[in-house]
Symmetry: C2
Subunit: 289 residues, 2 copies
C-alpha cells in the first residue's frame, strides 16, 4: 500500500500548480488542502481494482489522483462555516482557518476543475472513449445525484430521526458514490473486465463504501481528536443521525462486520489479483482513524 500512496502523492504534487505561479495564494492553499495528509483510501481502492483488471499502475495513478482531488475539494467545502463548520482537518487547521473563507471556496472550486482537467489529459494510457467514460463516471459520482447530493441530504437531516434505509440512502450518495467511482475508474484503466467481474466490483464498492461510513461513525464516538485528525464527537454535538445514533455502538460494530463479509463475498471469485482489495477491506474496518 505504501508504494501506491507515494505514487499518488507524487502525481498530485506534479499536477497541482506550484505556489510560485499566480494566483500564488490560491495555489498555495490548494497544495495545503491536498498534499501531505489523508489516508488516500480512494486512491488505494483504485490501485487495488486496477490490479484486478491488469492495469498499469502509472495509468491508475492519474485516475486515482483525480478522485483524490474531488475528495479533497469536498472536505474543504464541508469544513466551511456554512456547512459542517469544522476547524480541524487531517490534524491541521482546516483550509478556511489557515487561509480564509473566500480562498477555501475557490480552492474547492479549483480542485474540482483540476480533477476533470487531469482526467482528460492526453496522451494517457487508455483510449479516448474509455477516458471520456471515466470523466462521465467521476462527474456523476461528484454531482447532485452523488456526493454533493449526499451532503445536501446530510445537512437536511440534522436533528431528524432517520430510519436505517434513509441513513443508507444518504451514505450511498455522500461517501459511497466516490468510493464506487474510485473502484470503477481503477478497473477502467485496465483491459476491459467482463460484465460479471464488473458487477462484482460494483457490489464490492457498495458494501465497502457503507462499511467505511459505519466505521467513520463509530470512530467519531470512540476515538479522540488527535488520533482522528479531525474533531471527534461532532456528530452528536451537531445532532446528526449516524449509524451509532440509529443502531447503537454494538449493533453498528456488528453491521461493519457484516458489510465486510458481504464486500469480501462479492469479490470471492476474482482470484488472487483481488488480494489487495481484500486487504483494503480489512484496513477499512479495522482502522483507528
Amino acid at each position: 500500500m505504501r508504494v501506491h500512496q507515494l505514487r499518488v502523492e507524487e502525481v498530485l504534487e506534479q499536477i497541482l500548480p506550484p505556489s510560485t505561479i499566480a494566483p500564488a495564494r490560491l495555489h498555495e492553499a490548494m497544495r495545503y488542502a491536498v498534499l501531505g495528509g489523508g489516508k488516500r483510501v480512494r486512491a488505494l481502492l483504485a490501485f487495488a481494482a486496477g490490479e484486478v483488471a491488469h492495469a498499469q499502475p502509472e495509468s491508475v495513478a492519474v485516475a486515482a489522483a483525480a478522485v483524490e482531488l474531488i475528495h479533497a475539494y469536498s472536505l474543504v467545502h464541508d469544513d466551511l462555516p456554512c456547512m459542517d463548520d469544522d476547524r480541524l482537518r487531517r490534524g491541521k487547521p482546516a483550509c478556511h482557518v489557515a487561509f480564509d473563507e473566500a480562498t477555501a471556496l475557490l480552492v474547492g472550486d479549483s480542485l474540482q476543475s483540476l480533477a476533470f482537467q487531469v482526467l482528460s489529459q492526453r496522451p494517457w494510457a487508455c483510449d479516448p472513449g474509455r477516458q471520456l467514460e471515466m470523466v462521465r463516471t467521476l462527474a456523476a459520482a461528484a454531482g447532485s445525484r452523488g456526493m454533493a447530493g449526499g451532503q445536501a441530504i446530510d445537512l437536511a437531516s440534522v436533528g431528524m430521526e432517520l430510519s436505517l434505509p434513509e441513513l443508507e440512502f444518504m451514505h450511498i450518495h455522500k461517501t459511497g458514490a466516490l468510493i464506487r467511482a474510485a473502484v470503477l475508474l481503477g478497473a477502467a484503466c485496465g483491459t476491459g473486465l467482463d460484465g460479471d467481474a464488473h458487477a462484482r466490483l460494483d457490489r464490492f464498492a457498495k458494501f465497502s463504501g457503507l462499511a467505511f461510513q459505519v466505521v467513520d461513525d463509530l470512530l467519531d464516538v470512540q476515538a479522540n481528536t488527535s488520533t482522528l485528525g479531525k474533531t471527534a464527537g461532532k456528530d452528536a454535538v451537531q445532532n446528526k443521525p449516524t449509524y451509532v445514533s440509529v443502531l447503537g455502538v454494538g449493533r453498528s460494530r456488528e453491521l461493519a462486520e457484516e458489510l465486510r463479509s458481504e464486500a469480501l463475498a462479492a469479490i470471492d471469485r476474482l482470484g488472487p489479483q483481488a488480494r489487495r482489495l481484500r486487504e483494503l477491506t480489512e484496513f477499512i474496518v479495522m482502522r483507528s482513524h
Copy 2:
C-alpha cells in the same frame, strides 16, 4: 439570436435534474440558479463560433449548455457572503438568499460537476478524442489558472490600485477564460478549422472578452439596479479596481470601442459565416445590462 437562446434554454431544462428527484431542494435550487434568466452571451458566442466551423446547432447546444452551467455556478459562488456578498442576481434574489448558504454552495459544486457530465455524455456529435479535448479546455478555463484564479486575483485586489496591465491580467482570467472557452468549444463542434482560423477565433475571443468586461465596469457605474438585474455601483462600494476607476468613464468607453475594432479585425477574413460573431460584438459593446 433568440432561436439559439431558446435552444440552449431547452437543453439546460432537460439536463438539470427535475426537482421531484431527491435531493429535491438542491435540484430546485440548481434550476432556480440556471433557468429563466441571463443573457446567455457565452452560449451565443459558442453558436456563432460553431457557424464559422459549420457545426450542427444541436451539437453546439450541448457544449454551450456546459459553458453556461460553469458560468451559473460561478455566479452562485461569487454572490456568497464570503465572496462578493450580493443579494440580487438576474433581477431576483441570489441563490443563497432564496435558499440558504449551504444549499448555494452545493448548487455551485453540483453545477460544475454537471457541466463535465454533460460534456462527456455519449453518443454525441463529435468523436471521443475531440470531446475529451473540450473537457480539457473547459476544465482549464474554469480552474485556478482561469476563471476561479481570476476571482482570487479580484478578491486580492480590493482596495488596491492596479495598473492597466494588472487589471487586464485579472480580467483575462476572470471573464476572459470562459468566454474564450465558449468560442473554442463552439468551433470544436464543427469540422476542424485550420490553424489560422483557430488563431483568429482565439484572438477574437480575447478582445471581445475584454470588451465585455470594460462594458460591465461601465454599466456598474452608469446603469441602475433594476436594468442590470444585479446591484449597481457595487464596485465602488467594495473599493474594487475597475476599468472606470483606473481609466475614467471617457477613456473606458474609448477602450471598449478599440477592443471592439480589434475583435472585428481578428475575424475580418473569416467571411460571411462569421456574421453572427460580428453581431455579438456589437451586442457586447452596445448592451444596456
